[in-house]
Symmetry: C2
């Protein structure tokens, strides 16, 4: 059986777990943290990042690469649109999730969750407030506009783009925050819709419990 | 005709130009720089990054996403292996190029080329020396081991992985540096091999001239 290396609370590891759950692929999970790794692990992951997917001799050290690979070995249900333009947009949303959304929501998660639970320190609430006031709103504004009245981001079907932009919302919740449904009603409803999918629900509820 | 937004000297823009050249796709080119952009451009590129590909209503603001799209609309010659594991490895090398290789080689490029030609400042040679002594060697060591005695990184065929890891070598050369062929003979020969491909040669020689 293949092995997924990386802690469940990593938004990038969760992306892969969401894809695996949607596709019903069984796997082993090694809870590697993203710092202080062994030399052995660094051979698998030259950038020292998680997740890493190991399938016999094949080693894939990047969440986007892993999900692309999973689509090839288990095409059903598809996580990528077949239309080239829609596929391009889905990949773009995945990239936006990997960068803007995750880096933004991780600021609050790091202060409120990682510092408290891993480093036994208090959160710096000034950093949290600055992030919530200034960094988070432009990201949520963009996503509110992109989702509009659509069920999912691209072509009315769940895709890797939806995985990419929602994974870090779990970390935002673990930090005691949620998307203000008065200010971003379409985004808030959309995230609920993604998180109510049976496969995704199992992943999200497990991480929040 | 479609438009590629972004300056030629950006390693990410060059990735797309290399793919376009290999596939023989004609396009317009808008020389947008990666800072001080107009509000109009930021609508196209929410992260403010280059390149952006614009094809009618379709807007794709990321080099990896653009090349994936180009493969769909013009599959020949293929830039992605058809075997899932080889494809995964090619995507991984592209990612390694986008991150470790480019961030490392950009340090020297920024000091020696950007500061001098754009900001009319002197290079900080202490930063350059530290990068050449400490940051660059581990990246070249990794690539030397990965290329080994193979013609290209994956499956003996040119792929997006080769584009990803070689694009920033052009910037390294513009900074007056080259890969030491005594220390990294396989890597140096491999980069020459990539740069001698007719389509790639046109792009590289144009940028170096």
């Amino acid at each position: 059986m293949s092995t997924l290396h990386g802690v469940n609370l990593s938004p990038f590891v969760r992306k892969v777990r969401m894809a695996l759950a949607e596709k019903g692929i069984a796997y082993d999970n090694e809870q590697v943290v993203p710092f202080g790794q062994t030399a052995e692990f660094k051979k698998l992951s030259p950038l020292g990042k998680i997740p890493v997917w190991q399938d016999g001799n094949l080693v894939l050290p990047d969440s986007s690469v892993i999900i692309d690979y999973l689509e090839r070995i288990e095409p059903s249900p598809p996580l990528y649109p077949s239309d080239p333009a829609q596929r391009g947009r889905a990949l773009w949303y995945e990239e936006y999730g990997d960068t803007a959304v995750t880096s933004t929501l991780t600021t609050v998660f790091f202060q409120r969750f990682v510092r408290k639970n891993i480093f036994q320190q208090e959160a710096d609430e000034e950093i949290v407030k600055n992030s919530l006031d200034n960094q988070v709103p432009p990201v949520f504004d963009y996503l509110e506009g992109e989702i509009g009245d659509n069920e999912y981001l691209v072509g009315g079907r769940f895709s890797v783009g939806d995985i990419g932009v929602t994974t870090s919302v779990v970390n935002f919740r673990l930090a005691g925050e949620s998307i203000d449904a008065d200010r971003w009603p379409k985004l808030a409803a959309y995230v609920e819709r993604v998180f109510s999918r049976p496969a995704i629900k199992g992943v999200v509820e497990g991480d929040l419990s």
